[in-house]
Subunit: 441 residues, 2 copies
């Protein structure tokens, strides 16, 4: 089968690998130039936290080793209080579990190499999609070039041009929700050739309504990201205000950022959006056969980054679509119809990612939260089969919706156990004559 | 001020009238040809139910008399049971209150006449918007024509081209929700020159998951609309099935529809969508001044038709925007910023319209519902200031959000009164020795 993928980012490249393995011919159209060429725009140095779902997808293609070699494991969070005090909190009761910091650009180059090394995969850079007729499969690109395809898969990200076409069709429900927050990237460079902070953690500066995070890079720098209300970003409009604000709220990081002022001034403000779309595919039958247009990854379900699951979820999409192709005997319209079942899972992670923003920026700094996590990890060690939501999301491939069902079930069991313990304690105290009851016991 | 309105439908024309009265110069761009010309596509014969909000807007421009002269008042609902039994239920305790059936095309021609009669208003038909730069106010139309405007207002309906541009901007949250229902129009023609059913009612055939409604026309026909699940529409794929289905579920209407089969076959299936967008306007400041692009009516907040409020709400938008221009001294960026407050109201009517679908297709047929309505009307007559939600939505200009607050307050009062009545009754029975109490009374 000839398959056209729009977008040669992380998910497009990985999907191309899965499809090539099934002996399909894949053409990827990418609007940007080849990032592996000299002089290509490197874009922003966005870091990803690759965890089990992403690793599992890579493992199925034998790509996990090479990708993880270039990654830095982060087994926990390091919280930075306003006074500079540090608190480390492991992500898992199992100390061998870690999420892995990796640069998006590096990973993209790796996956481009992997895809183009496979027979039947071709990538055409500098092709920006400007039009799509979902009935005929006719694609129009900037500068007038056109192509026709029977199977078109949009892997072209949160602002997908393929989805923009689907959205115009009656019956396609759609939602884009912007947070009233912007993000801006900063850097903590290496100091004397060494990491300026512990590289074995995802660093968080929780500040109530705002926060900053930092992830380590192989060059021993950290990429920091501010997540601030737009009004805060707008209010800090000069070097003095920026300096004063950082000195007050992020004093330890401030000392580690010699380029804060130009970086803050020059780096753009990014937006945080959640996209929902339903259905993700449209099939048109005609006398000459069927044409199918579908969506995967951020194009189908962009989420905010606060659970570190955007790329992991997109990679898992590829695994699931591969599974659907197994079930559908490589009939793409059927497989994309089956793939709609994944929406139950992506809806869950979209919600959890939003919820986790509040947790990261606000709750992780509190003693109650830390104590709760310690109890949860103790339960994980003591109760066979008990696992926290974070554990299941980050260190398992349990479908996201299944995670939520299991977390709800566990809560009921633990609440029941707690009630039983209370009752037992009550009975014991009563035997010891410590409790008076109405019937005179 | 020069103002460009995209869309010369109901809301675009009415807004042009309001703006012309404020001495603005208004150019309306409409993609269709002039509907007042011979041979123009008349479109589907959609009926509207104009009620107080719409009338109030027309009244402010002196247009209410002429519009209502061509309308047919419907003081209540007529429910058709599957066995043909009829139940009439007034919309209001005040029998003089009625909603008014009027054809969309007729009303549009009326408003086009009204707008073009005003100095400073020009309508350019056959101009389909294909591009818009919100920063420069540059508009592109089909066939290569371009214009530039400082103030652009999209009144171009649920599938607004102006909104399509705003949706692409970061920070613009958006949502389109399709119901899994289609609608299809049918006709009950006049019989022997007379209405075949009572013209003084909105007719409803509630059938649980499905329904049909019918509104009277001045030519003594009724326009019927089926609201059916897509699967039902798809399943009735031949004349025999259509005939059998109508004979079973809509036997009384079936007898009044001689053209049922060709109409059912030829009339398209419409879709039912709710659109949410936020913000509704974007202003760009430059050294040469500001450019503002905003949305009104369905372009800003398309709703489903089940509360009969789509056009009424759009007309009320014009009144509110006129009020905002008063407050802002005709500064459009400021006025459109103020106009964002209306979203609290349009969100409410969007929800009520969805809720009312369940009421119309399912509940209006039940005895409980009818009894509840009778109690509600009795309360309206007995309690000073008490008004039902339907009364406030359809026969007042209380802002929609205010309606919901008032309904909630009334419910609390009535619940309190009911509790007090119960207690009084209890005390009375106790005095008469009819109630035994624990303390031996």
């Amino acid at each position: 089968m000839e398959v056209t993928i729009v977008g040669a980012g992380l998910v497009g490249c990985l999907l191309a690998c899965f499809l090539a393995r099934r002996n399909h011919h894949v053409t990827l159209y990418e609007r940007r130039p080849d990032p592996r060429q000299e002089g290509a725009d490197r874009g922003r140095s966005i870091n990803l936290a690759i965890s089990e779902r992403g690793i599992d997808a890579l493992r199925r293609l034998g790509l996990d080793g090479k990708v993880l070699d270039a990654a830095i494991p982060m087994p926990g969070r390091m919280m930075h209080a306003p006074d500079g005090a540090l608190t480390f909190q492991p992500y898992s009761a199992d100390r061998s579990h870690a999420i892995n910091s990796i640069g998006r650009a590096d990973l993209n180059r790796e996956l481009l190499d992997a895809a183009t090394a496979l027979p039947g995969v071709e990538v055409r850079f500098g092709h920006r999609l400007t039009g799509l007729d979902e009935r005929t499969g006719r694609l129009e690109f900037e500068h007038g070039k056109t192509e026709t395809a029977r199977v078109v898969i949009g892997a072209d990200g949160a602002y997908s041009a393929v989805r923009a076409r689907l959205q115009q069709l009656p019956g396609v429900s759609f939602r884009q929700d912007y947070l009233d927050y912007g993000y801006k990237e900063l850097t903590i460079p290496a100091r004397n050739g060494a990491f300026a902070m512990d590289p074995g953690a995802l660093h968080i500066w929780p500040r109530g309504r705002s926060m900053m995070i930092a992830l380590p890079n192989p060059d021993r720098s950290f990429t920091c990201t501010l997540f601030w209300p737009h009004e805060t970003l707008a209010a800090l409009d000069g070097p003095q205000r920026v300096r004063a604000y950082f000195a007050e709220h992020y004093p330890d990081a401030f000392e580690l950022m010699p380029d804060l002022i130009p970086a803050y001034r020059d780096n753009p403000v990014g937006h945080l959006v959640t996209m929902h779309c339903s259905p993700w595919h449209v099939t048109t039958e005609s006398t000459t056969g069927s044409t199918t247009v579908g969506l995967v990854g951020d194009a189908a379900h962009a989420i905010v980054p606060f659970y570190g699951q955007g790329a992991n979820c997109g990679f898992e999409d590829c695994v699931e679509l591969d599974r659907c192709l197994d079930q559908a005997g490589d009939d793409f319209p059927k497989a994309l119809e089956l793939f709609e079942r994944r929406k139950a899972d992506t809806d869950v992670i979209a919600r959890l990612a939003l919820d986790n923003f509040v947790e990261m920026r606000d709750k992780v700094g509190s003693r109650m939260f830390l104590a709760g996590k310690r109890v949860e990890h103790a339960l994980e060690r003591v109760l066979p089969g008990y696992a926290s939501r974070y554990e299941l999301v980050s260190f398992s491939t349990t479908p996201y919706a299944g995670v939520e069902r299991r977390v709800a079930r566990q809560r009921r069991i633990v609440a029941g156990a707690a009630a039983a313990l209370l009752a037992l304690g009550f009975a014991a105290r009563r035997r010891r004559g410590l409790v008076r009851t109405r019937d005179g016991g």
